[in-house]
Amino acid sequence: MEYTPAEMMTAVAARELRDGEVVFVGIGLPNLACNLARATHAPNLVLIYESGAVGAVPERLPVSIGDPALVTGSLMVCSMADVFQSLLQNGRIEVGFLGGAQIDRYGNINTTVVGRYSRPTVRLPGSGGAAEIAIHAQRTVVISRLDRRAFPEAVDFVTSPGHRSKGKTRRELAMPGAGPTRVVTDKALLEVEPESGELVLSGLYPGIQTDEVKNGVGWPLRCRAHVDEVEPPTARELHLLREVLDPQRLYLKR
């Protein structure tokens, strides 16, 4: 059965979630992945948006993390002080989703600037809640399409710290969370190698060769001892994504 890279990424991201987990959700693929998981193996997932909506059950596809549809029918609305202090810093968030213009060898993410900070070639939006999510979420899942420019050896600016920043480990930097344990791309699944803190190839999507993946990153990508073959989206997953979750194909076209 045919499927788009976005559909595959969403299905793979959804499988990263366990039932009952408390998830910090973003807009787009993360939101679709969470709702796909809720509709399949994780009905008790608790969706939290940094806007303050807790236990949201959006009746429509939210176009922003502050969408009113995330509030109506949710379990709780809390202030952003509570979101960051009582939920995130408190350690209650089990999974956080992150993405970014640049992700490097150690899972550091840049959403601030391409080029010099003082006079950048491209000014990106900045951290938002990403820096604290990367530090406090018990683990994070990164979603990004493979591309040498998006996966440099080292990011221009560390907005969200990964497993090694300025030569320091997360433990040395006293970060509560485990950081980006998985990177879901359009061709393969990367995961962190605990000893080195480096991202390595852990799973290949159907029909993808290892070299295609290696060519998509800016450093000599190593492979995990055993590289999995990642299952394609099931008919059920595709049905839910196409007919129920994103019927207008806002996010799943390509």
Partner: protein, 293 residues
Amino acid sequence: MREAVAQHVHDGDTVVIEGFTHLICFAAGHEIIRQGRRDLTLCRLTPDLIYDQMIAAGCARKLVFSWAGNPGAGSLHAFRRAVETGTPPLELEEYSHFGMVARFSAGAARLPFWVLRNYGGTDLPEVNPLIRTVRCPYTGEMLATVPALNPDVTIIHAQRADTEGNTQIWGLIGVQKEAAFASRRVIVVVEELVDESTIRADPNRTLIPGFIVDAVVVEPWGAHPSYAQGYYDRDNDFYIAWEPTSRNPAALAQYLDEFVYGVRDRSEYVAKCGNLERLRASERVCAGVNYGF
């Protein structure tokens, strides 16, 4: 609105128009542009379209923020041009959302700083020397700090308030309470002015007490293209259309000419926008609770 802005927003002020996606007071931003305020230090977690417009209009000297994008639609191009080309010059003071929330929390508590466990491993402290550290007097560990933010004026859009400014908000409440308490002056802009008895019937719903409010302005649709839960939906088409508009300086200038300089007040703006009724909220009224004893 004209009087409130004239009286409470001055050139050189530190100005906050808060509201996270929800209840962003575009009406106040437009009036500030019309009155030609200059050298403002604009603070917001998410500058959003309203600060992009104020930057384009030349109101801003400095931006204090944590996420500067057009949610789900693209970039804030006036902001990007200023930063990428240096014209107009725009000074940046950048945090993460948590850092901005902490700055408002410190301001509201009238403490000089706030403590948070954050920024280890990030490059933010290197480009913002105001992000510092403090040693815990109990554990000895080092924690991050941010300085208090105490704006000259904070403008809050809300669903309803009474004439004294006792203000009730539901749906996303963001950081409005902290911003209001941190501010020297507070302007509350509401969809609806209600009798004090409406406020007193449900006191747990009140977010801002009247005695910290300096002006109350009634401005229906004042948050458009942002939204007001229970009143109107977000105008997502407008946000999407802003991408090409702001990308093109001429188009942006024309937008300001037509919809900001070209109207006398919010009612003219609403008329000019045409069919905003399409955004009118559906009815999803909750049950009340018993305050008897």
